[in-house]
Amino acid sequence: MSSIVSRGSSTTVQGRGEGPLRARCEVLAYRKLGGYHSLTFVAPEMAERAQPGQFVAVAVEAREATLRRPFSIYSVSQHGPWAGTVEIIFDVVGPGTRWLATRSKHHVVDLVGPLGKPFPLPAQPVSCLLVGGGYGAAPLLYLAQALAQQSLRVDMLLGAATQERIFNAIEAKRLSASAQFTTEDGSLGVEGVVTDVMPRMIEAAGTGVIYACGPMAMLAAVSAAAKELDVPCQVAVEEEMACGTGVCWTCVLPYRRKDGVVNLRACTDGPVFNGARVAWSAVGTSAMANAEDGRGRGRRGGRAEPAP
């Protein structure tokens, strides 16, 4: 028997001693956070194994939905009365997220995780700039905590279409040496997009590494700007995923290696990649915001976040 069954707050866990596992997790809390939704699950083993940048794949019981939905881990707690929890932030965009938004305390949800490669933490004591678009801020706030534990300087730059689409500005301010915001309509911070502000912040903070998460078009722009300024840049991408576990090859991202461009799996080889190496121009049409119609799929931060 390779399945470990441990019962604690209705959590049945299957997996091995390390790596990802599958668990049926009780909902500890459902909250609305600005324009977003939050679900906290009782998931002690997952909480223990999770690192910033990783995600969970959630089985949704929406009618006819066959596939899990991936969500970045926003926060974990490894202690407290509930032994260990994992929290995700999401935007309602379709049947799966609509179903998730109807979950509440004591509902049980089937999770697989933690999945994917986490953000690599700096080997040197450098100053870190975290650039997030829309709900892409969620994993960055988790990362900010980990960087703070290493006593590294963290600056935060969050962008979105409007103020409500900026995820958790208060937390961003609390966790950073400096925090800036951009909105398309000027309802919070600078009117514009993150790349309008980024160079100044890098200069002011002496940024040694950028971590970014958000819509693909934003990540492309951030990566380009970072390259120009010669700052290393790690991006957490979002591609449509059928399995989330590395077996189906639907989630690939064109990535430059010595031997040419290869299609790497966002779910297993990523979702965190070196932004300078991603072959942005070759990224699938649907993943990139489409200039013509102002939207695209597979964009971190959701549809409300404009391309910079």
Binding site: T66, V112, V247, T250, L253, S286
Partner: protein, 325 residues
Amino acid sequence: MTDATRSDSRRGGGSEIDPADVDLRVALGDKLALRNPIVTGSGTFASGQEVDRFFDVRRLGAVVVKSVTVEPRRGLPTPRMAETAAGMLNAIGLQNPGIDAWLAHDLPWLNSHRVPTIVSIAGNTTAEYRHLAERLRDAPGVVAIEANISCPNVDDRDIVFACREEATHEAITQVARVSSVPVFAKLTPDVTDISLIAGAAHEAGATGVSVINTLLGMAIDTETRRPKLAAITGGLSGPAIKPIAVRAVHQIHEAHPQLPIIGMGGVRSVEDVVELVLAGASAVAVGTATFTNPLAALEILEGLPSWLAEHGYATLRQLRGAWRR
């Protein structure tokens, strides 16, 4: 289902069967015996390593690996998948490292973990199929070859070998001639008469057939007016296609009762496995269900003995083709 159902006469004349005594072994022809009937759908399980993080994949009857080609393939652009009602479309385009890299990196892992391996091969020409079969001659741990002659994600439908009897015959002949292990022909349901194609494969030397591959489908995003797949069309899999799979297995089994069949298409439960076996399958592959639940194949395997025992069956193989009129 209900207790009433379970306590019916099929439980047998008082002969209680212990799940531990259920014999799951199956034979696929004379030369291939599997310790249990649960295998994986090619392209839905990679080469086993990823799922091995969740459970010991050695537990399975065999791992059928993602189709390997002669040269490495980058595959198709994204988006490569679209969800549909109770199913999904995919257009991966056979992304794989090529047979050389696969033999150098993937097979050794499978060997070191003692996983019975069925290698799915795909080619553009009969010569490529032959070359692949040659490269696999006497490869350790490889218990069979599955010749994927039915991948729908190709530009020219004419090169889908399994769409025509003659092409099927030619491709399988090349593989069977050089292979040191049993050969299974992977067939598409997108044909007028699948049992004719199965017959051609058998005549050409295939030990058996694997059915079904995905059905060619398409979805269009009404907002953008773009196909949901970059490749425009792709293969439909998942629960939606199970009735087609049962029918295809049934038709082939009726026409060729001796031909071993690896059945697949929308399997996600023990009952689905039994259904395909009743229709005529000897072994059953779990495909898309692994995306929904990485432990699907294991859970189905673990559920089989008690289902069989409760229903009064000491083996699964006794149910092969055993549907009743």
